[in-house]
């Protein structure tokens, strides 16, 4: 079993996030592994943990990211959780990629991994990146690779070359199946990511991160990055701060005060 987990380096949601020149400010001081990718890494590691020992020995989980060198933070964290290998795709030509450029770069990374080391059975992602929150890259990676996509899985099962997932959509509870190779995205309810142990934390410090350029992947520079993007950011501005909160301490009249506030402001 060979699994690629696509991970993203994002600003910590607990930090003050901002834009610089219409792009997300990736200040290395607050950059981190996208928290939802931990669910993807956990899903991958559990699939391998369930294999018989000889099969586990012949398997690998590769963390793949498209990012500048700062993205190594996300890959180090992936090593800490237990991935075998980490690859970063870095190229100035990829800056400013839209959803399609990002998906093309990730798909090209998967194809390169296949050319080097044999078929990749599964590509796993988190349900969203916490900076952009688009949730569409997994489906687009699948489209680029011509593989089925089972997304937003709450429950994951891999057996006999078939991936089965259960998921909750806005409309329905569904069970879906698809043959491997496939693309999977897991919901944040799918599992509880493991805490890195001391041994892995120490080992992660010195593990080698491989770096590839757009050319290494055979990516057409005109099709990715700002050059290939079909949308263009034209402005980004912080919202004005909210007015001071009107605070009432309940001494028996708190509910009445709340009702009066809503009536006074014509909110009900």
């Amino acid at each position: 079993m060979r699994i690629v987990v696509a991970v993203k380096y994002v600003p910590d949601i607990n930090a003050e996030r901002r834009f610089v020149d219409c792009r997300v400010d990736r200040d290395p001081g607050v950059g981190t592994l996208n928290e939802l990718d931990e669910n993807a890494l956990e899903a991958a590691l559990r699939i391998l943990d369930a294999l018989p020992e000889d099969e586990r020995e012949a398997s690998e989980v590769v963390a793949l990211t498209v990012a500048p060198t700062d993205g190594d933070v996300a890959l180090r964290k992936s090593f800490q959780m237990g991935v075998d290998r980490a690859v970063r795709v870095t190229d100035d030509a990829l800056a400013g990629s839209d959803y399609f450029g990002t998906a093309a770069a990730l798909a090209a990374g998967v194809r390169r991994l296949e050319a080097d080391g044999g078929p990749v059975d599964l590509v796993i992602t988190g349900m969203a990146a916490l900076d952009g929150l688009g949730s569409v890259v997994p489906a687009l990676v699948a489209a680029e690779l011509g593989r089925p996509a089972l997304t937003l899985a709450k429950k994951v099962d891999v057996a006999d070359g078939t991936l089965t997932v259960t998921r909750e959509t806005d409309e329905a509870t569904e069970t879906l199946a698809a043959p491997l190779p496939a693309v999977l995205s897991v919901a944040d309810t799918a599992n509880t990511p493991r805490m890195p142990n001391f041994k892995l934390i120490m080992a992660a410090r010195t593990k080698q991160i491989e770096a590839w350029s757009a050319a290494d992947l055979g990516l057409d520079a005109a099709a990715v990055g700002t050059a290939g993007a079909r949308t263009e950011a034209v402005s980004a501005a912080p919202r004005p701060p909210r007015p001071e909160v009107e605070l009432v301490v309940d001494k028996g009249e708190g509910g009445t005060a709340l009702a009066e506030y809503l009536i006074r402001n014509e909110l009900v």
């Binding site: 489209a143 089972l150 806005d170 079909r230 909160v245 301490v249 309940d250 708190g254 009900v268």
Partner: protein
């Protein structure tokens, strides 16, 4: 914005899936669409008579109803496969090609986002996910406004491709019927479905919608309960009924098994006129799903709760006391007003 006349003769397609009811989010898309051009609808199944009448009132003359090869559908698990993002995407792409449409508008559900992305991929279109506003710039390009980073920033982006595909958040605009209602025709749309790349729907259980309450995504007023409820959503529900609100929860409350749907950046994202959080501390995850609300009210017994930092009005107190008292006062007010 909805009342301005479009400057270009665009065709705008609005995704209507399912086609058994017209939700407020669809009415909002139709209203937005009319400001950009002539609006047509795309469905995966036959719309009901009531649906057609509502579409007519919003100015839709044509509904493109997908005709999907039955063998392709059967191979993907039958009727439930009709709503798979790959099938919806193939339908949207076919509709764009047939009508030479310029804009596709879809709601901001996870399924519609994927379908929109796959259709845009196939068409080489520009894609915007979760727009909070859609308009045209001075040279007639489609511009989308987004509220990001948990409602802390506003961004705008322009679509530079010929076709623009956008998913739009609920409550982006107030629905407004067309000046004159029109007759609505259903036009069969042949969809050459190459397949679903091997995806098979093995079971699909459609969720019941709570009668008498708006859905969380679409509600103008949302009341949410968190850890502070201690598992008793009674006061939350009573208050919600008094203000006609949808009910949601924090992720913690859902993990505890107290409620089924949570508001948050990975759950349901809401942008109502009024949000009331009860017993919710306001963790970043939750704020990411509600901070775009116009007015934020919180009730929490902890005076240090972070949610108070982003509130317009707050009560420090026990929600089990505060909410029933407020609900009673609001009911009395409504009766006094004769409504």
């Amino acid at each position: 914005m909805p009342t301005t006349e479009p400057t270009r003769n665009r065709t705008v397609l609005v995704l209507l899936d399912p086609a058994t009811e017209v939700r407020s989010s669809t009415l909002e898309l139709l209203t937005l669409g009319r400001a950009l051009g002539r609006v047509e609808a795309v469905t995966l199944e036959a719309p009901t008579v009531e649906v057609l009448a509502q579409l007519g009132a919003y100015g839709v003359e044509t509904v493109h109803q997908a005709e999907i090869p039955t063998d392709a559908l059967a191979a993907a698990g039958g009727d439930g496969a009709r709503h798979l993002p790959s099938v919806v995407a193939a339908t949207l792409a076919a509709a764009v090609r047939r009508t030479d449409a310029d804009v596709v508008l879809a709601p901001a559900t996870f399924g519609a986002k994927e379908a929109a992305a796959l259709a845009a991929h196939e068409l080489g279109a520009g894609l915007v996910i979760d727009a909070a506003a859609v308009e045209e710039d001075e040279v007639g390009r489609v511009v989308a406004g987004k509220r990001v980073f948990a409602g802390a920033w506003d961004t705008r982006c322009v679509v530079t491709a010929d076709v623009a595909v956008l998913t739009v958040r609920s409550n982006a605009v107030v629905p407004e019927a067309a000046a004159a209602s029109v007759a609505t025709e259903v036009d069969p749309l042949p969809v050459a479905l190459a397949g679903t790349a091997g995806v098979v729907v093995t079971s699909r259980e459609v969720k019941e919608r709570a009668p008498g309450r708006p859905t969380l995504e679409e509600a103008a007023v949302v009341v949410a309960g968190g850890r502070g409820t201690g598992g008793d959503f009674g006061p939350v529900e009573e208050f919600a009924d008094a203000v006609g609100a949808a009910v949601g929860a924090s992720r913690d409350a859902v993990f505890e098994g107290w409620f089924d749907r949570y508001i948050g950046q990975t759950g349901v994202t809401v942008a109502p006129r009024l949000y009331v959080g009860a017993g919710i501390s306001g963790a970043p995850h939750h704020r990411g799903g509600m901070q775009a609300a116009q007015v934020i009210v919180a009730v929490n017994s902890d005076p240090e709760a972070p949610i108070f930092e982003i509130c317009d009005f707050a009560v420090v107190g026990d929600l089990a006391d505060v909410l029933p008292q407020a609900a009673a006062a609001l009911r009395a007010h409504r009766e006094g007003a004769g409504a």
